[in-house]
């Protein structure tokens, strides 16, 4: 078990190197000369050459990569020339918005997706099973940005129950004092009812849309595993022993469905990060996805590189966590 854990943890190191290499290469081939941008439109060729030298752009690629890595270790992610601030500061400021949306969406996907998969399997060919299968094929085919727009059209324009898609708080609401950066949590801590209501109101629709976009694979997996588990001998034994229905389904059977679900969480997280970008774009959510899209539009290399790096690193650690939890939960892996 310790061997498995150690190998898995150590494997992260080369992967992280690979990740930094990719993000470095991305900026290396990015069109546009950063020195030119930094020197400004009135710069003379000498000035630009001087700027290139100072930024180290005249060095060989390997030297530049080494400087990039050294910078990363010091927490230097470069500067954004659109906001004029260090990228790290920009990211730190925006991560809570993305985190809040991601967590809420994950909660939606788990709370709706798992029970739906269970019920679909238990009442096979019932109407909820049909719903779940429709969702399984239809849900994954719907582009997330389109689902978002559709939700906005229905709930904002037609029904008027959703707020306008303009960020995390309605205009005129003072944000709660900063503790975690998650507005719902912060306003709860500060006992500011109006801020809490507004934050929740703004969060509901994007979270539902993002959650819906990743729910289908979860439901499908739970349903398939549940069907298999319900056929197994130990479940038949549990029925035969006269255990209550609830105990058998939600205790014994569901617990055994959780292992494939855990392994799926890494993939789900990847989809969540991708979905985040478009959902943030649709709802003008001030997270890192929106930041990256804005940077890409203005060819601002620092934020683009750092965004891809940030998501890559987080993804590597999420997958590590998934594998470790999997190792802890599934004794077959542990003993190997």
């Amino acid at each position: 078990m310790l061997g498995y854990l150690c190998t898995r943890v150590l494997l992260v190191v080369p992967t992280l190197f690979g990740v930094t290499l990719v993000t470095f290469v991305l900026t290396y081939i990015l069109p546009g000369n950063p020195a030119l941008v930094k020197a400004g439109p009135l710069a003379t060729p000498q000035h630009i050459a001087e700027m290139e030298r100072r930024m180290g752009l005249d060095q060989p690629m390997a030297v530049q990569y080494w400087r990039y890595l050294r910078g990363l270790f010091r927490g230097d992610l470069g500067e954004s020339h659109t906001t004029g601030r260090p990228v790290l500061e920009d990211l730190i400021q925006r991560v809570p918005a993305t985190l809040e949306l991601t967590l809420a969406a994950l909660a939606v996907a788990l709370v709706v997706g798992i029970p739906l998969g269970v019920v679909a399997a238990v009442r096979r060919d019932g109407w909820l099973d049909h719903v779940s299968r429709l969702l399984g094929v239809g849900g994954v085919a719907m582009p997330t940005f389109w689902t978002g727009l559709l939700a906005l059209y229905i709930f904002f324009y037609a029904l008027g129950v959703a707020p306008p898609p303009l960020g995390r708080l309605a205009t005129g609401i003072t944000p709660p004092p900063l503790v975690t950066g998650l507005l719902t949590v912060d306003s709860l801590l500060a006992r500011e009812g109006r801020a809490l209501a507004s934050a929740l109101h703004q969060l509901v629709l994007p979270a539902l849309v993002l959650g819906f976009s990743v729910m289908a694979p979860l439901t499908r997996m739970v349903r398939a595993t549940m069907l298999e588990v319900l056929e197994s001998d130990y479940i038949k034994a549990a029925w035969a022993a006269g255990l209550p229905r609830r105990t058998v389904i939600y205790g014994d059977a569901l617990r055994n469905c959780m292992i494939p679900v855990i392994t799926l969480l890494g993939v789900v997280f990847g989809f969540l990060m991708a979905g985040n970008v478009v959902v943030e774009s649709v709802f003008a959510w001030p997270g890192i996805g929106n930041y990256a899209v804005a940077a890409m539009m203005s060819k601002d290399s620092g934020p683009i590189q750092s965004f891809v790096l940030f998501v890559g690193v987080v993804y590597v650690f999420v997958n590590l966590a998934v594998d470790l939890v999997y190792g802890l939960v599934d004794p077959r892996i542990r003993l190997r």
């Binding site: 993000t23 991305l26 990015l30 094929v137 239809g138 582009p143």
Partner: protein, 296 residues
Amino acid sequence: MSTLVSVSADEAPARRSAAALLWRRLSRNVMSLAALGLLVVVALTAAAAPVIMPYDPDAPDAERTLEPPSRRHWLGTDLYGRDQLTRIVYAGRVDLLVALEATAVALSLGAALGAVSGYRGGWIDQVLMRIIDTIQAFPSFILAMGIAAALGNRLTNIVIAIAITHVPIYARLIRGEMLRIREMEYAEAARTVGNPRRRIIFYHLLPNCFPPVVVQATLAMGFAILTVAALSYIGLGIRPPTSEWGAMTAEGAGYIVSGEWWIFLFPGLAIMATVLSFNLLGDALRDVLDPRMKGV
């Protein structure tokens, strides 16, 4: 010599019956038949768009801007009075072509990498698989975004971005198949008679890895279309005025507050219908070609 002849003679009916079986299964399933039909319609209308569509996708009509669906314009018109249906049909050319090219590139590259990796093993396998790992260390859409941003908004670059992120799908699949097949008797036979390694890998073994690959490629086509559309939606893919489903949806986003629903709705429906068809077709193919995965 006689054995060679008998092998190919045995093979032919097996192939024919597989195709027949495929068609029989597909035609029995209403959903997959509908999916296949829809894809054929989308592809044909896209190909024949200049002949069959009565409007020019890029010609503005100042008299008829933002018109809701009518008998004249079945799916309405956009801000410039362009016919939405015409634009959606034309957009099918871009989306299908990008997805097809990206899948073809990813498949060839992935197949070559996976085959060599799986057959050779050892350090070559290690190196190639670490490269694949690195690509997979990123959520694929995020990496595609980064590559598209780095290379710039050109059609070829979008194809490259999607192809790179799809290479691992095929490389891993083929590597796994290769590991299984290389120990089989006919592989041993091919080695024994002294075939060069390249010939063994690419001529004798690789074709036998293809059934699961066909399934994956069909499913990946849908995913590629979603990726092109999403890249274009956020402004990193195909740019207006070229008609493309994601870009068209993005143009419609601004009209939600004023209630012009047809501008964002129909391009999105086109994406959904096409992706859904690829997924249904992929599932049906899986049932036929890869019975181990049936019902999953």
